[in-house]
Symmetry: C2
Subunit: 198 residues, 2 copies
């Protein structure tokens, strides 16, 4: 009943993160409702995305090379401090940069440890991180993963892996977020706020 071209597109979208078959079907029917020009434009954008964007060979941040450089603008910036901020995802790096509050270098780990998986490390760039640390010899490594259960576990794991390099390892401060209300803060946030008082 469902034409094979539609089935194929449903299958493709089902592999997208957070998308199930039902949403994938909506996407396919949405595309079917667009005119041919718009679909062509979408395809062109996807192709440019893959063709024109490279992952920085140091930090793995996606960037647009001007010629054939392999290193992104941040990693090329000589004025940056020699600290290494380890983040989980590209979006974390982008958010940190937007704030302009950090002047050092980054490393995108690519995920968190997931003990429910056969291979808990998954696509985590642990070996790459070790190489970068060896090469850069940063004066400080900031583990800036989310303070969630999995994020904390991952930071513990990374800290252990990097211990032999004898480099100062820190984590982001914990406590009440700006604008947060003590009345509604959870137990652990209050505990961390007390610990981190100054």
């Amino acid at each position: 009943m469902v034409p094979k071209q539609i089935k194929k597109v449903i299958k493709i979208f089902s592999d997208f993160p957070t998308v199930g078959e039902r949403t994938a079907t909506r996407f396919a029917l949405y595309l079917l409702g667009l005119d041919e020009k718009s679909v062509k434009e979408i395809c062109d954008s996807l192709v440019s995305l893959k063709k024109e964007i490279k992952l920085c060979s140091f930090c793995f941040n996606p960037f647009t090379p001007l010629k054939d450089e392999n290193i992104c603008l941040i990693c090329r910036d000589k004025k940056r401090e020699q600290t290494l901020c380890v983040v989980e995802r590209e979006t974390d790096l982008w958010r940190m940069e937007e704030t302009k509050k950090y002047q050092g270098l980054y490393f995108i780990l690519g995920g968190e440890i997931d003990f429910l998986k056969e291979n808990p490390l998954g696509k985590l760039r642990v070996e790459e991180l070790k190489k970068r640390v060896e090469g850069l010899k940063p004066k400080e490594i900031i583990l800036a993963l989310n303070p969630t259960r999995d994020g904390i576990l991952t930071m513990d794991f990374i800290a252990k892996i990097l211990k032999p390099y004898e480099i100062k390892i820190t984590r982001l401060g914990r406590g009440l977020p700006t604008g947060g209300e003590i009345e509604y803060a959870d137990e652990e946030t209050i505990e961390k706020a007390l610990e981190g008082r100054r």
Copy 2:
């Protein structure tokens, strides 16, 4: 900070149904993580979708024309009963067909009335429906929209619009779904089950 090619793709996916900027960003980064061949394959599938699939000019069901026909297999089937089942979406038609319990023709209305919108009828194919009814003169019109608030409103509206044609208009039976438990049934379902008892 975010390369313009990534921003473009985020923008594209943000226009997909149910997708917000956050999910669109995940999609863009997911595509960036695929190899070039896979992205090419995705594009090819999207292009085939638009090129090879037509909407049936009678019922609006998407189908693959063998030559240059404009009418889908269902509408071309002479053995089908001359009843017209009005459904909201393609997926409703597919589900009905899967069950093999209906032997008539269809019409995909394309949505429900949304009174919160400036144009409540939106892309509803009301004029097309009237034309099909005039042309086909079906012996019965079955309004098979979901019995939700908006679906019921839409069926009331369509029934009113089609009244002048003096054709028998029915709706799907209401009551307890097979496997449903009376103990947990809502008030209206029980009311409808009582009304529809036989």
